[in-house]
Assembly symmetry: C2
Homo-oligomer: 357 residues x 2
């Protein structure tokens, strides 16, 4: 076998999660699955509907509601970059321990209707974030546009000049290119200084465009791309050196938003089995020859799954350890209450399991 | 307005349709919608399940069953290229009026599991088709393969060297590259001699990858691609000169195959409103600047919708005429019997209507 049967690792940190409105039926179902996956720290995205999280008070209230579902998790809260946010609010955010401000290009994904059209009007805000040390989290896609030949397949690559320009304009601003999906993005992040990093999801380590073409549970934004792109992500993971770390972008949707009438909501739900999926994807990548067996060391896993994200967000090391074991888990067909049903990624399949030590 | 309010045209020919097994509940529902769209001649695809049409007798029996649903339509029948077909069967097919032999790369689309892995073993058959004047109809996609970096997005472009090689090996063989979807394919077909033509569907004149990413009713093989590709298809239509003509690839699937459990079946159902969709797509293409208003003449429409296909298959001109009128139709939400429900393309939207003269 390519990998060891088990790895003893520091508790994981998932630096990009969607938990939805709290209190609320999806948050109630999903939040308790975070620690099940071996994760003790999550960066919580602010794109709630009907109103995103734009004030520190809202973020803290949201955090309190999530703590009611699981007080053991460390929730890193964020604001949704919006013109209503003042430099004073940024300073208040830093003091209150808010971890980042998320920028959504308008129209690029779920609940991005309040998002950014141009970064120019945000100059003062970004400068304040730079001096305060508050992280900018980027959904790195241009909105699709037939006129500009932007589609879901090249939307990320077309965004990369914006990343480079933000980095050059605000060299001390800490930036995360969230859920990167392309070889282009991996190269662009590597080309930037140490302040620029990227998260990689679990599902983009195994999905291709073909997989989501016929399966709505595999459809997300940014969409999964080509075999070359997937190879670049796997390579980025095993050669990260702090530049790339886990952010699952786990995005729970009720099955009615996936299989019901009308268009399919974008998002892959990976929260309860996030680490298992990563390990399975690494095994498959080794089998395909995308990465080499010897590249997947305990050190690499600990860095990508736990240490690099914590370091970037200036947290201390994990206090607890987890044991990740081959084939210990079978993914549920769905997570279900009387109010919602959410189908997890690779439902019904075997994956690696996690035990808290 | 960009276009005239109505066009008097020869009855249309749809040189690529899926009518499914006959007798059968889908064929019973769909076949009577052919003439509703202003079409009197259809090329019927042979990829039935559980067994494709591989003998002349089967094709003629299938034809008879379709005639029972609508005797007024001229059904051009085809065989499914398969190792069980002999050169004698090809000669028999020509005598019996079979119009073509369809080649499916194995694994590329619906019911392609009996398809072609390599064309080399078919040398004698293809030579016989060449000398007999029987058309080769190509599903022009390589099967997806992570090893070879083939995905649904580049599968057609990767197939084009095979088209060029078949044309060079059998220069007198009449070849149709079915449902072409890319600028690459348009250029490749133009680069071949007069024996090589391509069909273009109605839906690929308006769909992009973004449209099918979140809407299962827009998902088909080959999948819709980029704005540049769509522009190339619209340009091919208005500058066809016989090289490009209508083949809708209308592919009815029960809603359970689209929205039910499991993966989504590939195919867009366009039969009852095929001409309306083409006219609507041309109007939208003019509005976007992909084509010019003056390029859409009565002559261009008559050629693409009716004359070029008939000429390629060596049929006489249409006997009847149709009047295609702006905004006369609203697409049904679905076509429904107690056995099946099929959602048509652009359901609920306005489109052009057709009247028989």
């Amino acid at each position: 076998m390519a990998l060891k049967d088990s790895y003893l690792l520091p508790a994981a940190a998932d630096m990009h999660v969607h938990l939805r409105n709290a209190p609320g039926p999806i948050a109630e179902l999903v939040t308790p699955t975070i620690r099940k996956a071996g994760i003790d720290t999550v960066f919580v995205m602010p794109n709630l509907a009907p109103r995103p999280v734009v004030t520190v008070d809202e973020a803290l209230e949201y955090k309190k509601a999530l703590q009611a579902y699981d007080p053991e998790v460390n929730y890193l809260m964020s604001l949704y970059l919006h013109e209503s946010i003042t430099p004073d609010e940024i300073r208040k955010a830093k003091k209150a321990g808010i971890a980042g401000v998320k920028a959504y290009p308008r129209g690029a994904t779920t609940n991005s209707q309040w998002g950014v059209v141009s970064f120019d009007p945000f100059h003062e805000l970004l400068s304040t974030m730079e001096s305060e040390g508050l992280v900018l989290n980027l959904h790195g896609e241009m909105p699709s546009s037939p006129t500009d030949n932007v589609t879901v397949m090249n939307a990320e690559s077309k965004f990369l000049p914006t990343l480079a320009s933000l980095h050059s304009k605000y060299p001390n601003l800490k930036i995360v290119l969230e859920h990167c999906t392309t070889a282009d993005a991996v190269a662009a992040v590597r080309a930037c200084g140490a302040n620029v990093v990227a998260t990689i999801t679990a599902h983009h380590l195994s999905l291709l465009v073909d997989d989501w073409s016929a399966n709505v549970h595999h459809y997300c934004k940014p969409s999964a791309k080509s075999p070359e792109d997937r190879r670049a992500l796997l390579q980025a993971l095993v050669t990260s050196e702090g530049k790339f770390f886990l952010g699952t972008d786990s995005a729970p949707h009720d099955i009615s938003s996936k299989k019901g009438k009308g268009n399919t909501a974008a998002g892959v739900f990976t929260q309860p089995y996030a680490l298992g999926y990563v390990l399975t994807a690494l095994e498959e990548g080794i089998a395909r020859g995308d990465i080499k067996e010897e590249q997947v060391t305990e050190e690499v896993l600990a860095g990508f799954l736990s240490e690099f994200g914590r370091k970037f967000y200036e947290l201390g090391p994990a206090e607890k350890q987890i044991l990740v074991k081959r084939d210990g888990a079978v993914v549920e067909e769905s997570l279900k209450t009387d109010k919602v049903e959410i189908v997890p990624y690779r439902s019904g399949e075997k994956t690696w399991s996690v035990e808290w030590q």
